[in-house]
Symmetry: C2
Subunit: 274 residues, 2 copies
């Protein structure tokens, strides 16, 4: 990394194995509109969920190095598998460049612990995430006692990725995943996969509107804002910043799929060979 | 209307000239999930915006009569043109059956007046709605002094109806509609067309996240809840109610287009000849 600008004008960098992290970028674009962003979708290596920890760390380091070289003031890891296996490695590398890293899992756990009234918290996530237990550990680190109900949703991310409009089959699946959370009478549910905000209205209807949903996007946008303020590197721009995209796979496919996840147009997507 | 059941088991009925009102139904499905719903899309006569007041009153009475005959405990008019021209006629007809009517415009104005801090309220609506002045009058009836900035968006509803994914042209348009609202430093904006919630993230980004957006869906779901409670006709169901659709035009087109607006699957759509 050369010529890193210590001031506030560098973009926030976000990466994921594909388009899922665009729901995180979406929240950032709405919550911190004055910032610039660069988003890396490592879709040539999608899905990260099927990789070993060593492979994941290699992916994380490759992505982190690339984004640091491009220039960034804050790195956001918007992928559970990458965060679970590679957050510490990314932090070490980024710290050497004076850049902080925030990642999914911990911020959602903090918010869930802060907002639950009953202390009964649900986690809806992929089987790999549930089995890895990262949300369970993160919730265990909070300063209050929580009763956690985890539900593994084997097909939900894939169904969402395959597309809309929603079919009755999607509804039936979402309903079945919500049933154990309702039985456990949770008042707060962490959506432990960046794809799930796309079925948020359905989840809210099946869980009941008094149940609070915590998304990675919401939690990471809040965490990013705290860091920008603490380090005094928030953008001094007025109005909207710019955002752009790089991917490692098929840019056209990324753009087409990504628009649904971002709920904003992507514009040009740059192909990079990492 | 025969055998009207005075108890809580009848559906809430919602009508509009097409699919736009599905964003209102969406909010109702999420906010009041235990209720049953029937939605009438009078898409054979779309758009209502091009009709005379007399024609609109005829449409409203026809729809109201149909829904009362089917059986309903509360009627929701989710269409600005229909509400402006026909609300009083619908109320007279429905009152004779003991059914209350809520409609767009007044509930949004009440919420906007209640939540604005600065008293500077924006209205983003179609040219017909802006010219008709219904939001301006409704805001004038509130108990505090408000400074209202209206912006007419000539093509926004049509662009949204034509489809997603979003193009840069949509972004440019939405941005240009937001500019006068930003200049007026409004802190609250009424989305005066039921299509607009589909570009809500974009609006939020361009207006700034501290600006509060008031949708017809949010306002009508809250109004419906108050009436159900006051009249003690809220559903005693646990879990989700049922919802179904009738339209006057092409059921397949209605279902396909409608899914995007409802963000839930529509299932079967019944064709009726009104």
């Amino acid at each position: 990394m050369t010529d890193r600008d210590p001031n506030d004008s560098l973009p926030i960098a976000v990466f994921d194995s594909g388009v899922g992290g665009l729901t995180v970028l979406h929240e950032c674009l709405v919550s911190l509109p004055e910032e610039d962003y660069v988003y890396l979708g490592d879709d040539a290596r999608f899905p990260y969920g099927a990789k070993t920890d060593a492979e994941l760390r290699a992916c994380v380091l490759r992505n982190t190095r690339f984004l640091l070289e491009r220039g960034t003031k804050l790195l956001v890891i918007a992928c559970n598998s990458a965060a679970s296996a590679g957050l510490e490695s990314a932090r070490e590398l980024a710290a050497a460049h004076g850049v902080e890293v925030v990642a999914v899992i911990e911020p959602e756990a903090e918010i869930a612990a802060a907002i639950t009234d009953s202390g009964r918290v649900g986690v809806l996530a992929t089987p790999a995430t549930v089995a890895g237990g990262s949300y369970l550990r993160a919730l265990g680190r909070q300063r209050r006692e929580l009763t956690v109900t985890q539900v593994a949703a084997p097909d939900l991310a894939a169904i969402i990725q395959r597309g809309f409009p929603f079919s009755e089959a999607v509804v039936e699946q979402v309903r079945s995943y919500c049933a154990p959370l309702r039985r456990a009478r949770v008042d707060t549910v962490i959506l432990g996969c960046t794809h799930y905000p796309l079925v948020r209205p359905m989840l809210q209807r099946f869980l009941g509107r008094e149940v609070r949903l915590v998304t990675a996007g919401h939690a990471l946008a809040a965490a990013a804002e705290r860091i920008l303020e603490a380090r005094r590197i928030a953008s001094s721009n007025r109005g909207e910043g710019e955002y752009r995209f790089v991917c490692t796979g098929d840019p056209d496919a990324f753009r087409e799929l990504g628009t649904r996840f971002l709920q904003l147009p992507l514009g040009d997507v740059e192909l990079v060979d990492l």
